[in-house]
């Protein structure tokens, strides 16, 4: 697949929402270890707002911008801040109704850049950045013109990144107060973002 159309992108979003819903409880249970146990609900609510907004989208830039606005205006909390920032950033790096491989790479890189403006968390801090950063970096490094292969590289890196959080000690936000107790469980945010990237690749 060398071009990603708006229709393809909507399919990918729908599939990601389906997969996130399937694992909603798992994300909340992981969050309960070192947080308030609502991450599953939070990501489903935020992603649902984005998918609903995307239904009427006809062009990448406006559609992604509206998705970001929908998340931030209809939901609240850190999950929404970061997911909303991701789509707003993607909007900055995308335009038109079809993207080739370099267009997809640029869109995801721009999404990551905007998330990095919102959080100081870095890979290794046991947050969603442990999935997002390697995923986007792997996509940038991939030379394939095939968008499915590109997304698969991102999904593989996100999965590896999320799995690596099991051994990590939380180093960011309120979770940091749990110190050693946070070791042994994957981070809920890294796990849900990895699930999202896996679904993006599967849907194509």
């Amino acid at each position: 697949m060398e071009q990603l159309s708006i229709t393809d992108f909507k399919r990918l979003l729908d599939h990601a929402l389906t997969q996130i819903k399937v694992r909603e409880n798992e994300f909340s249970q992981l969050d309960a270890v070192i947080g308030d146990g609502d991450h599953g609900t939070a990501i489903v609510t935020a992603f649902s707002a984005a998918v609903k907004s995307a239904e009427k989208g006809t062009e990448f830039k406006a559609m992604l911008n509206d998705m970001g606005f929908a998340i931030m205006l209809e939901t609240s909390g850190s999950t929404s801040t970061l997911l909303g920032a991701f789509f707003l950033g993607m909007s900055d790096g995308a335009s038109g109704t079809e993207l080739d491989a370099s267009g997809v790479k640029a869109m995801f890189a721009s999404g990551l850049a905007n998330v990095q403006k919102q959080t100081q968390a870095k890979p290794g801090d046991k947050t969603m950045m442990d999935a997002l950063v390697p995923a986007v970096e792997a996509m940038q490094a991939d030379q394939s013109q095939n968008i499915k292969e590109l997304m698969q590289a991102g999904a593989d890196a996100a999965k590896k990144g999320a799995e690596a959080t099991v051994a990590m000690k939380a180093n960011f936000g309120r979770a940091r107060n749990y110190g050693e107790r946070s070791i042994g469980y994957a981070d809920s945010g890294a796990t849900s973002w990895s699930c999202m990237f896996a679904a993006f690749a599967d849907a194509l």
Binding site: N65, L73, S76, S78, T81, G84, L88, Q118
Partner: protein, 335 residues
């Protein structure tokens, strides 16, 4: 058991804001649901000063909307952030060429609401910059800024910024004036009796009789040091000492001292505490040039107070003491 004169808990915030704006209708008005604005907006060529925070802390924060202080406060439910949607609505209302300075108290919900609303505002062509307050020192001396909550030290800042904005300072100049203040203000809270949440009657961080807790948060949450209750002088001396460890003042510097009652401590006690704190500062060679004893930010019926000390520059002193302000809960005649 009912302990408060309220009606339906879910209408509490709307009702208290309605009562407040009816009482002071020459000064404040509702600009939308949970948005308090000045009754007589200032000229749009001046930067707007906006803040946000949960209700339950009356008169804060909306008590300081008025001439010479805030242009707008955006109110959340009891002890809760207002959310990005309402804040974005307020930013749209305050939109102007000169820009908006958004004062954010460091509490995670408020910070998130502000970050989201500012991202949206930027995309909607609204010029807005954030100024974070983090005056609490209960996380430890020289603790990272992210770990320090915003307490009542924001209130004198509203006065400083409001006066500077009236003078025609630009958004960047206001940010600089505000950052110099936030870098040199420190607040410490002490509680001796906790409070109940007005919506569910839950007792927040119950304190046994005869015990006080230094470092108590603005929502009654515990902060650390519980110990046997001591005299006003001993309490004040210990708090001044901790605040000065953070501020590291030099003899000859000019200081602001504010004692903020948080709800159930009498004005009598606050005066007695102020007396000792003032003398402690004087004994360190500091000159107290601006002061106040009042309930500016409360925590329901919690007994206790917040002690706020700031080291001020000359422009801060001028804005605080010499420029007029006329908000329902802060009046300065000016010179």
């Amino acid at each position: 058991m009912k302990t408060k004169f309220i009606n339906s808990p879910e209408n509490l915030t709307a009702e208290l804001l309605e009562g407040y704006t009816l009482a002071y209708k020459d000064q404040v008005a509702l600009g939308g649901e949970n948005i308090v604005v000045r009754a007589n907006p200032k000229s749009e060529d001046k930067v707007a000063i906006v803040t946000l925070g949960g209700s339950g802390h009356e008169p804060a924060l909306s008590g300081f909307v008025g001439d010479g202080m805030l242009d707008c406060s955006v109110v959340g439910d009891v002890f809760a952030a207002p959310g990005a949607q309402r804040l974005f609505q307020a930013l749209q209302l305050m939109k102007r060429e000169a820009g908006i300075l958004l004062v954010v108290l460091n509490h995670s919900g408020d910070v998130m609401s502000a970050n989201m609303a500012c991202q949206l505002a930027e995309r909607a062509g609204i010029k807005v910059k954030q100024l974070l307050t983090h005056d609490d020192i209960s996380a430890g001396i020289d603790a990272p800024i992210n770990d320090r909550r915003g307490l009542a030290g924001c209130v004198p800042l509203y006065k400083i910024l409001g006066a500077a904005a009236d003078e025609g300072k630009s958004l960047d100049e206001l940010l600089e004036i505000g950052q110099r203040y936030t870098a040199n203000v420190a607040t410490l809270a002490v509680a001796m009796r906790s409070c109940t949440h007005p919506q569910n009657n839950a007792i927040i961080s119950d304190l046994p009789d005869g015990i006080m807790e230094i470092g108590m948060g603005q929502h009654g949450e515990g902060g650390g040091g519980r110990k046997a209750l001591v005299s006003a002088d001993e309490t004040a001396a210990e708090m001044v000492d901790l605040l000065c460890q953070q501020l590291k003042p030099k003899a000859g510097q000019k200081a602001m001292l504010v004692i903020n009652g948080v709800g159930a401590t009498t004005q009598m006690e606050l005066n007695i505490v102020f007396r000792k704190a003032y003398k402690e500062l004087e004994s360190r060679g500091l000159q107290v040039v601006s002061s106040r004893i009042a309930e500016i930010l409360t925590v329901q019926e919690q007994a206790g107070f917040q002690m706020i000390i700031a080291l001020l520059d000359d422009d801060h002193i001028d804005y605080l003491n010499n420029k007029a302000a006329n908000a329902p809960y802060w009046t300065t005649i000016g010179k």
